[in-house]
């Protein structure tokens, strides 16, 4: 026993599969605060954009939950998080009349009667600003606000002044904007209304809105170039994880485990890690060289016996990255957990390249599964590409779709209740060649990458699960 068992146990206990909701109570011990995530939490930055699994809902829940917010305030002392009063304006799973946040059904009904979608959101925040003002049912309040805007404004100004006098800021969070409605038109309309209200409120002293938005929705809004949205867009904050942040999370989880911490300190003996400190030493959080040396002690240095196979430290995030070169924290944790589950005490390190390899395959399956949930049409598009080899010409891909009648299939499965076709299929420039629309859609989602001279590639994280091969000319040889 060299202590690697303790490290392996921490990796096995990672629970990355749980998708977080903004209303869920976050585990304070799970909070890891990369310095560049400060902007995403800053109450003055309205729009936060990120891919699936980067932790948008997690950060929303941290801001919402008092205990977690206090912890985040220590990590980001300059944001004034300790002076916030936070309420959820929308989140996945919102329901009932007790909440400030409306359900998707309530919003749908309100869309039918509202002249201006911003009134719908005014109605939402009024419930927090002045619960007794105006009618009690949602739609009545929307009508009332549209009929007597000054009453809403008075309530707004009064709360703003009161908050400012108390030195506190009211922050209203909007998460999971892609489930505001079940069709893209309604989602767009509601999002525009919210963007307009956010701009109006930016002139207030002590009331702020904050929106967490998935990147494909952001791209859609950007493409439509709504005037209300373009002002927010330029100030949008990107939420992402650099490789050193991912490893920072890993080492923090190990550090916080009583049994594993001394093991890690011993493995990194040259780094002089002080195990009496509750917090992971700074160098292990930010310094790639330090991290790489430490990771090699628990995962081996190389991806195999042949040392030209690449280093485990860089290999992992790279093979988990999408075409925007982004790796989601969830994918990273899934592959570490899988690697640990596959490894046993028969190896010298906590995990090894065989386990990491299996971990990446597992993460690929999960990533594609998530993509299917968000965009059911991706399944039809990728099924038709099974057996393809990449990199290849764009034409090879569109030909396969044409032969398989993929666009027709996707369109036939679309119905009003489900935004099941890519938005690009509606674009006039692709009418003659709808397969190109499909290609653009997958490029937007970072599933496909356009290389030089009409060549496209599919990164491993999607390629593996989609059963697409890498080009290679030499037939499989027998084991040596």
């Amino acid at each position: 026993m060299n202590g690697q068992e303790e490290i392996r146990n921490v990796l096995r206990s990672l629970s990355p599969s749980v998708a977080h909701r903004a209303a869920d109570k976050p585990n304070v011990a799970d909070i890891y605060s990369p310095p560049h995530h400060a902007n995403a939490l800053d109450p003055n930055r309205t729009l936060v954009v990120g891919g699936r699994g980067v932790g948008k809902s997690f950060w929303a829940s941290v801001l919402f939950n008092e205990e977690a917010r206090a912890a985040a305030a220590q990590a980001y002392p300059f944001l004034g998080l300790e002076n916030l009063d936070v309420v959820l304006g929308f989140y996945e799973g919102a329901m009932g009349s007790e909440n400030v946040a409306p359900s998707a059904s309530t919003l749908k009904a309100a869309l039918k009667i509202a002249d201006d979608p911003a009134s719908i959101w005014r109605s939402v925040i009024l419930k927090r600003l002045a619960p007794e003002v105006g009618p009690s049912t949602f739609n009545d309040r929307v009508r009332w606000i549209e009929g007597t805007p000054e009453a809403f404004e008075d309530a707004l100004l009064e709360v703003d002044q009161r908050q400012a006098a108390e030195g506190r800021t009211l922050l209203i969070l909007f998460d999971a904007l892609d489930v505001l409605a079940t069709d893209w038109d309604s989602i767009r309309t509601l999002t525009r209304g919210l963007a307009r209200l956010a701009l109006e409120l930016s002139a207030r002293k002590a009331i702020r809105l904050k929106m967490f938005m998935r990147r494909d929705q952001f791209e859609d809004m950007r493409r439509k170039t709504f005037a209300d949205f373009s002002k927010l867009r330029t100030a949008a904050v990107e939420l992402n994880w650099k490789p050193e942040d991912l490893y920072g999370v890993l080492f923090t989880r190990i550090w916080r485990d009583q049994a594993a911490r001394p093991v890690l300190a011993k493995l990194g003996a040259g780094l002089q890690l002080d195990i009496s400190k509750p917090d992971l030493p700074e160098s292990v959080k930010v310094n790639p060289t330090t991290q790489e040396a430490l990771f090699a002690t628990i995962a081996g240095e190389f991806m195999g016996t042949n040392k030209k196979r690449g280093r485990t430290y860089t290999w992992m995030p790279k093979h988990l990255a999408d075409a925007h070169n982004e790796t989601s924290l969830r994918s990273f944790l899934i592959s570490l957990k899988e690697a640990a589950d596959r490894s046993s005490s028969s190896i010298e390190t906590a995990i090894d390249h065989v386990g990491i390899n299996a971990g990446v395959l597992k993460a690929s399956d999960t990533r594609l599964e998530e993509l299917r949930e968000d965009h059911p049409w991706v399944d039809d598009a990728l099924n038709a590409l099974s057996g393809l080899t990449v990199p290849c010409a764009e034409g090879d891909v569109t030909d396969l779709w044409r032969e398989a009648g993929t666009v027709g299939l996707i369109v036939s499965r679309t119905n009003a209740e489900r935004p099941a076709a890519p938005i690009q299929l509606d674009a006039p420039e692709f009418t003659a060649a709808p397969e190109k629309a499909l290609l653009e859609a997958l490029i937007d989602l970072a599933v496909i990458e356009r290389r030089s001279a009409d060549i496209i590639n599919v990164p491993d994280i999607f390629r593996v699960a989609a059963k697409i091969k890498r080009r290679g000319g030499i037939a499989p040889r027998r084991e040596r």
Binding site: K308, K318, R470, G472
Partner: protein, 140 residues
């Protein structure tokens, strides 16, 4: 394997790769010699776009003649992702530098300074050192 980003470079390497392909098929070679290959992008333009253009063409050669055909889930075989920096097709760039066209260290000693050659050759030299160390580690 050095080369400038021209069609001639890749046309000529095609002959060599086609020849090497015959030896890659030999299943009884104890240590895979293919791991010893590395492309070097000579007189490279600056910027990712220039590098990618060279690497994509190098990948074409490797994929056609030297990379194993691998099942979708095979990440271990001798086949590399287009952007895998440990791949032999992932060329190490040596940037074009007009100063080297008139290279004359006899009369201009400062041309032998680190500052002078690092601009073009720094990355290349570091990669060579890393790989030589790796190789030595393998022998011991």
């Amino acid at each position: 394997m050095f080369g400038v980003d021209t069609p001639q470079t890749f046309e000529c390497y095609r002959y060599l790769f086609a020849q090497m392909n015959r030896y890659a098929l030999d299943p009884d070679v104890p240590q895979d010699w293919r791991f010893g290959l590395q492309m070097v992008h000579a007189k490279a333009g600056r910027g990712t776009e220039a590098y990618e253009h060279f690497r994509d063409q190098a990948l074409n050669l490797f994929a056609e003649f030297l990379y194993d055909e691998a099942a979708p889930s095979d990440l271990i075989g001798f086949n590399f992702d287009i952007d895998d920096d440990s791949a032999p097709h992932y060329a190490w760039p040596i940037s074009f530098d007009a100063d080297f066209v008139e290279f004359d260290p006899h009369s201009r000693r400062d041309q032998l300074s680190r500052e002078f050659f690092d601009r073009s050759f720094g990355l290349f030299v570091r990669n060579v050192i890393n790989n030589v160390t790796t190789f030595q580690g393998q022998v011991t």
